[in-house]
Structure formats: C-alpha cells, structure tokens
Amino acid sequence: MLNNHAKLMQFFSVADGVTGRKKLQKMIYILQKCNVPFEEKYQFHFYGPYSEELTLRVEELCNLGFLQEEKEDKSNYYQYNYKITSTGEDFLDQFLLDMPDMTTKVGMLKERSSRFLELVSTMFYFDDLPLEENIEKVHTVKPKQNYSHEEIQEAVTFIKKLKDEDK
C-alpha cells in the first residue's frame, strides 16, 4: 500500500529539500533512468520529460502533511519548494523499502541547475540513439534553449559519472 508514495518520501528524505517543481521532475526521471525504481510514468513535454503522476503524487503527499510546500513568487511565475515534515518521517519509518542507496546520485543532481537537468533528462530520454543523433535530437526538440557545445559535453560527462555510480 502506498509504496510509490513511500519511495518518493525516501527521495525527499535523502534530498533534504528540493527547490522547484521542474527540478524535482527532472531529478526523479534521471534517477529512474539510473535504475532507482520509481514507477511514475513520464512523457515528453514542451520542456522535456514530465510526469503528471509525479505531480499528483506530490500533491497527495503535501495534502497528507508528509511534505511541506513553500510557494515563492518570482514575479513572472511561482516557484515551489519541498521539504519532508516530521509526520512524513514517521510515515516513512513504517515502511521496509527495498531501495538502492541514492544518496550520491541525489547529491550530484541537487547541486545542478534545472536548465542543466533538463538537458540531461532530454539526453536520457533519447538514450536509444547513438550519441551524435542524440545531440542532434536535443537541438531539434529544444531549439530555444540553445545549449552550447560545452554544456552538452558537460552533460555527457555527467551522465557517464551517474552511470559509473551504478557499477
């Protein structure tokens, strides 16, 4: 029961706070691609992989009082930040979750910008393509982001590091 909710709570517990929904979306997707068994279904959207299921589940966790959501007005838009509550910690304690340790990966993701994570998650989304085609696809689906050669190289290195963590 509520195993998928508990898995997310485990993530929030490890992350100790996440700044922004976009970042949260990309972090969970990238972790999923790194064999962390989150089950939220993702589709490609305007800004890369996005999961409606994740959005809803996080809303549920907030309504249950397991997560605290803070809304920040950034003049043109709102930013939403999340933190696990003590009730959430209690809920998590009741579960015996069989989750791999994601501390290092979460740490690596947390310190990156949402723009960079959007690039990384998009590259992961097309990871069945050879690297050249993958990069071409990123430019095709994200012409406005105008990712530089350096950013893409950095993303390639970052993905390799994440995968090395699995070994």
């Binding site: 909710h5 976009k22 979306q25 305007f46 800004y47 809803l56 809303e59 907030c62 095709t140 406005k144």
Partner: protein, 439 residues
Amino acid sequence: MTYRDEQLSEEKVFKDPVHRYVHVKDRAIWDLIAAPEFQRLRRIKQLGTTNLTFHGAEHSRFNHSLGVYEIVRRIINNFQDRPHWNNEERLLCLCAALLHDLGHGPFSHSFEKVFKLDHEYFTQQIIIGDTKVNEILERVGPGFSQKVADVIAKTYEDKLVVSLISSQIDADRMDYLQRDAYFTGVSYGHFDMERILRVMRPIDDQVVIKSTGMHAVEDYIMSRYQMYWQVYFHPVTRSAEVILSKILHRAKYLYETNEFTFKLKPTHFLSFFEENVDLKDYLKLDEMIVHYYFQLWQDEDDEILRDLCERFMNRRLFKYVEFNPNLQMNEWMELYKLFQQAGIDPEYYLVVDSSSDLPYDFYRPGEEEERLPIHLLMPDGNLKELSRHSDIVESISGKKRTDHKLYFPKDKLNELQDEAVKTRMKEILYGQGAKEDVE
C-alpha cells in the same frame, strides 16, 4: 497527382453525436480509417470500466479518434493564411490527430500497470512498424510515418504542430470531455468549443487564446475539473478498476507458479504474463477477447480468480471508505492482519486507491518551464498565463484536492463466522457506530 494531395471524388462524412459530422476529403485519411489497426479501436472502449457506473459510456476509441481528427481539421481551416502557420503541415496534423491513440489496448490503464506496458510505445510501433497504417503513411512520402510518430511522441521539431494534438487545451481533451459527457449523460463537460476554435491563434511555437475568448476557456477548465471528479474519478468505476487489476495480477501469478493449469490455455495472455509482448500479440488483444477469458475464468479452480471474475462480470464490486494514510496507518496494518486471520487474502481484497493512480488531470499552471500552460494573447501582443488573469481558473487550479479510498468486499466480511473479527473489522472501516452502507 501524388497520393499526398489525392482527394476523394466526393467528400465523405461520418455522422457524429458530438460534432454532428466528421468530414473526410483526403484519400490518405480515408485509407487510414479503413486500416485494420484503426478498425481495432472500435473494440476498445474509450472509458474502460466507466460503463459499470454510467451505463451509456460504451463509446470507443474509434469514435474519439475521429472526433479529434475533426477538431484538428476545423482548427487548421481557421489557421489558413494566418502568420506562423505552415499549411504544408496540414496532412501531418490530420494523420497525427487521427492516430494519436492507436496504441491503446483494452482497459489500457490496468494492463499497463500490471504488465508494465506503455500504450505510447505501441502507438509508435504501429505507425513505424510492419502494418497497414505504416504502408499508407509511407505512400504519402518516405519518412512520413516517422514524422507522424514524432508529432504524437511530442518530439517533432515544429512545436506548434505538437501543441494542436497535445497541450493543456488541445483537440484530444476538447473531444474527450464533450464525448465522455455526452455518453455518460452527465451535464458537466459541455463548453463552447466553436468559440474556443475561433479565438485560437498560432503564435511562434504554440497555440494561444485571444484574451477576448477567456470566458469560453474558463468554461472549458470548469468542465475539465468537474469531469475529473464526477466521472473519471468516480469511486464505483475505481472499484471496477481495482478488481480488474487484481484479476490480471492473479492470473499472472497463477501462470508464474507453474503449479496451476488453466482449463483453457490463456493463449492471448501468455506474452503478457511473460512481459514479452510483441506488436502482433498486442494487436490481437481487444476487449472481446478479455471478456471471453474473464467469462471462462469464472469456472476456474482457483477461488480468488473465480471470485474476482464473477465480481467483474456481474458488477458485484468492492465497497469503499475514505482513507487517510496519515491518521489511519496503524489501523490499516491491523485490518491487514485481520483479513489474513479471516482467510481473506488482503493482497487481493484490501486495496488503497489514490487519485494519483488514475490517468487524468485538471489544469494547473505549474511552475515556469515545468509544463506549458494556457497562454492568453493580450491586446498589446503579450502573452499572459491564464490563471494570472482569470479569478475562476486561479481559484480552481490553486486547490489541491486529492483523495484515497480503501476498497474491500463487504459481502465477504458479512459472511464471516468469527463475530469478534468481523466486529473489529467493521469498527476500523466505519468507525464505531458509523453508517455502513457506503455505495
């Protein structure tokens, strides 16, 4: 004349209860509708188990797909000669609209969860694989099928084309809200689509709404919100979905044990049980086949499979109570043990279902660059996110209503001989002295 430009000698129309008529003039569209992979959609209901709650909801994915095609056809007619619109993309949009749900299987939400499938993957496979649909699309032009697949996957380079088929106010949603409202018979779900189509504008890489049309969009958002809670999340439908999922889990489990022999080999399900489904197997399975097996499984030797199928086929559904995982976690654990003690397997008969388990959503503006919101085109040419301008939408999208329900077979509880166990179960489920007859 090339196949891409070929028109029928006379326009064909399909009578449609929502849009009155669906108009077809392109030869390619006519041929796609006749393809076996598209005809298969006649045998897959748009709303899965909802007909067990709203008996009129027997409409199919075929009806809906034609509806989405018709809406896109009308939008494109309005877009002709407008800046930002490239009419070269017309047939691509129409094909993508028609085929966007091609990969849906029977009761696809439950099947996807249990057998780890993805209907979008099968949509792609039908379009680019060895199928009649692919043959027709490639006749339009080499590589055309891949373009259609990319539009549906939302990875096509022209985002404007993608947003017609898939965005927060797209042809897909506009059709299913109205169609589902019509067939369920509910009074919500209706909005002035003609008005919305008139105020839609292609701008750069998205479709926006002229600010003068804001009220029509508010109505659409309200419809979406009401359909979400009144139809899509209806607790009785969810009960049927819970049972359906448990049937699939049980049948898969029995197959995996290697100790159970089905009276009739479940040939159509084998690759699903083995999580090794290819396109050929996938296309063979429709609701007729699923019902056929459920009918047979009512006579199986396994008591759980037999009981669950009998419940599903005869609409003897689970009852439910509201459940708060925060306040009732300990009680749930006690209940789980009591079910075990009473010989009612809680893995199949005690199920928590959450709103996030369902594949529908209502409008949320979201965060910047989280998801593309609905934009209003203001008189000064600027774009403004809808909820920043509409009090009604702000009020709806600001509310985060979620819910969790606990499903169980009340009849089985009533049959229990152990009065102490039965009483305690009911105390937990209904609270002491609380009303029992939740329907």
